[in-house]
Symmetry: C2
DNA sequence: GTCTATAGGTAGATAGAC
DNA sequence: GTCTATCTACCTATAGAC
């Protein structure tokens, strides 16, 4: 079963854009990677921008929207924290280059790009989780934490090791497989860390 | 007191490279920003790569090496955590674009770039801190945490909100000043969070 | 749909006047 | 040291044959 030309292009574009970023990516490199002619890229996607958006929008959804699912779910706070960490870390381990791709482009494309994206896409919505945390604090079931910062902490602990991966991997001198194993062992470590940080 | 031409170039290059990244930066834009002629960039720095390295190496040092100072200091663990968070957050609040610049380039420039950098520069050395954590665990003075992950947690909690700033600021709909105030209020919040997470 | 050839524009770098 | 003008290379995008 051979992939269609359009899929070959998308697969190649995903790989190259993710690795080099929009500005450093050359249409020629995508064509080579896909094993097809450069002209075909324009036949299927008209220009570099449109091809980029096909790749980026998909990555953005994967990176962002999964968060909402867990945040809005109807379950006790501690369970929700566990579910978020283990499910989200699993997504990141399966797609380790995703966060840096999305975040790099958001940083480099400028304010207008971010604003346009936010208006076009479903934004992540941390409010259900923040409300839930507030209630737990008021009921005295967890420590007095700032709910906004707690949410930020949860996300930071999961995502940052992937964004800063070249740095940490360069320092620790470990190969890709070892690093991803470290991330796997990180799941229970993060869950413990958060539990102890907020319990009364 | 007028800045020298070389300083004008460096200031402009810092601003543009930091905002757009190496690949998207145009020598013309740096010249415009500096209010000088494009040819002068080559007179002072010969080519784009050399100018970039003048800016990047400085940023890398600022971002990385300050960590070592605190990590290697001779003080009790809880004090050290407090010192790290408050001092490092202060650096980041004063230079909010620093982490994303360094991390983006490390991600996009590829393995050879990172490897060359690591061999040329003093690497961050977390070993003194990791050793100290191990001793505290063995003495039963803190909970049984994995020292490697604890160090990773400390850094993640401080740095990630700056790397993902466009995302969070886009979601929270706050202006630059408000966001930096949030980061200021974050210092004690992180310190509390870590203390509670590791104390027995 | 897929290829080749090329147009059109832009960026980095250099030459040379002042 | 600083400027203008220009070279050369490359990259996106299009035109047109098959």
């Amino acid at each position: 079963m051979e992939a269609s030309t359009e899929d070959k292009i998308l697969n190649a574009a995903r790989e190259v854009f993710t690795r080099k970023g929009f500005a450093a990516t050359r249409m020629q490199e995508i064509a080579d990677q896909a094993g097809i002619n450069k002209g075909l890229l324009h036949y299927y996607f008209r220009n570099k921008n449109k091809l980029f958006h096909a790749v980026f929008d998909e990555a953005f959804d994967q990176f962002i929207l999964r968060i909402n699912e867990v945040f809005a779910a109807d379950m006790p706070l501690f369970e929700k924290i566990d579910a978020f960490v283990s499910q989200y870390m699993a997504i990141l381990i399966a797609n380790p280059a995703l966060p840096s791709f999305v975040i790099n482009e958001l940083n480099q494309k400028g304010e207008a790009f971010v604003k346009e994206l936010m208006s076009r896409k479903n934004k992540p919505n941390p409010l259900p989780l923040i409300g839930q945390i507030q209630m737990e604090v008021q009921a005295g079931r967890i420590r007095e934490v700032n709910p906004f910062h707690l949410v930020l902490n949860m996300i930071s602990l999961c995502v940052f090791p992937f964004v800063a991966r070249p740095l940490f991997q360069g320092i620790a001198q470990v190969d890709d497989e070892t690093y991803l194993n470290l991330m796997e062992s990180r799941k229970p470590e993060i869950i413990d860390f958060i539990h102890n940080a907020i319990r009364v």
